[in-house]
Point group: C2
Chain length 327, copies 2
Amino acid sequence: MRGRASGVSAEYGALWDALASSTLGGKRFRPRLVLCAHIGCGGVRDDAAAHVAAAFELLHTALIVHDDVIDRDFTRRGMPNVSGSYRDRAATAGIPIPVAEHRGMSTAIIAGDLALFNAYRLIDRSGAEGALRARLLDLMDEALFASAAGELLDVEFSVSREIPAVEQIVQMERLKTAAYTFEAPLKAGAALADASSSLQELLGEFGRDLGIAYQATDDLLGVFGDESLTGKTALGDLREGKSTVPIAFAATTGLWPQIAPFVGKGDLTREEADHARELLVACGAEVFTRGLASRTAAEAAARLDDMPAKLAEELRPVLIATLDRTR
Amino acid sequence: MRGRASGVSAEYGALWDALASSTLGGKRFRPRLVLCAHIGCGGVRDDAAAHVAAAFELLHTALIVHDDVIDRDFTRRGMPNVSGSYRDRAATAGIPIPVAEHRGMSTAIIAGDLALFNAYRLIDRSGAEGALRARLLDLMDEALFASAAGELLDVEFSVSREIPAVEQIVQMERLKTAAYTFEAPLKAGAALADASSSLQELLGEFGRDLGIAYQATDDLLGVFGDESLTGKTALGDLREGKSTVPIAFAATTGLWPQIAPFVGKGDLTREEADHARELLVACGAEVFTRGLASRTAAEAAARLDDMPAKLAEELRPVLIATLDRTR
């Protein structure tokens, strides 16, 4: 695609380069889950599985590129994202920052559309035909459908005055991220191995638990994480006033009046952030969130016992990696 | 999809309603061209053609929803678009305008992604299989690929200080709009009728000419159009400083120093707009643009003579409708 684009204009080729870089540096969770499930279920469609694995990673790229526009983020994984690189390029050319930012975001909308379309195309090009192709497309359809629903909830939470309940946050995060990150790739890998629908469902439930554990951990890293490892500022979530599990829990405690002023404070200082963290620990939000992560991870682990040994063996390391995260 | 969405949340159902309304009130050019080409080439795949026709209209919906975000437009066809309706809803709820606008734009990014994905899905669901399905997907791929390239050029033009040359504008408009509006739907309709690749190419060339004629007319309507018919303010293109054929031509004339101050003037008054229009007529920009429209339309008409009579008969009314526009 980059070659085709360069044929149109150097600038268009550069957009595909920017898209390519935005696929780098991730954890490759989605392709890994597709391939683990495919191998674990005794699948033999290696080439199709590779295409589908890439399709889910590219869907992820499309969603984060657009999510960064929605969140007005200009960096990702410690590097300028598509919005950021185009904003910086425009700013260097002497274009005023607000205009440069809008240009960066506009370019990112275009780049995300291209990634989304090509994610779909990779499923089509996987060589899967008939009922299998239809199933894979249904899974990607469900994945995007859920993610859009979750993103919409996230946007609503971000503008509403009340702090959502913990259950609402968990539901939002499951829809926005877990469904397309864990549930759909695992089911797709199993489908590629002609696994029974009951096994596909079991993998979906495993993925759901894994996703909640992952997101709860993510929420903790977003506030308590080591910036040098996460690649994102540990002030971001607090400054943004992002709806996360620890914040939702804290809002139900007596310390909330002291914590609230720091949440969504755009010019939050490091000292204020440190104080906010102390309060989040003191009110029990940190312990509660950690508990939610380990409880759901334990549920996921229990589901491994109902799976064929080979599959459980493939998935156990993924489960451990999910919990034992520093980034 | 709306039914499925309502099952998730009322808000999500409402998003699909907003998406549905944004498919209304258009000219239905794309589906019409798919069906005309299919019928004109003696096609018998009526059901598949209906799916593909709908797919191109939905691709159009996705692109305009995202284009409106990029252009910061909150109305389309005289009605609030997705961004506009969500901005208004948020503003009514007492959310500050800048936040409400960003919320509207964020929601529109999500809605566009859903439309784009489902456009692709409609091709997949058309029942076309094998080489035909691959050809249809290639055509939609080319359509989006070109549109993204054109949108990127448009974004660059909008931030650059120099006015692009007329040829650059024509090239940008062809990529951004004509390729997916005229060329791809015509080729797709012909492919569905198993037309020869030479006839598909001829239809592509006809579509390209038609597209240039259409866009030149559009540029004129954007400045000289009757607001009550176009449904958009005739000040918009001037205020935005939109790169159009008449503006690009005017920039090459001696009257440009008098016209330039009005182009991109955010607070342009009706009186100033009237004066700018007089100058655009006086410098010959209006005549030049009208001439470009009729010249390329004549070229399109000439291509009809090389087509089977039945096909030419189907397409002639489309050609006339394209030129004889008031909106």
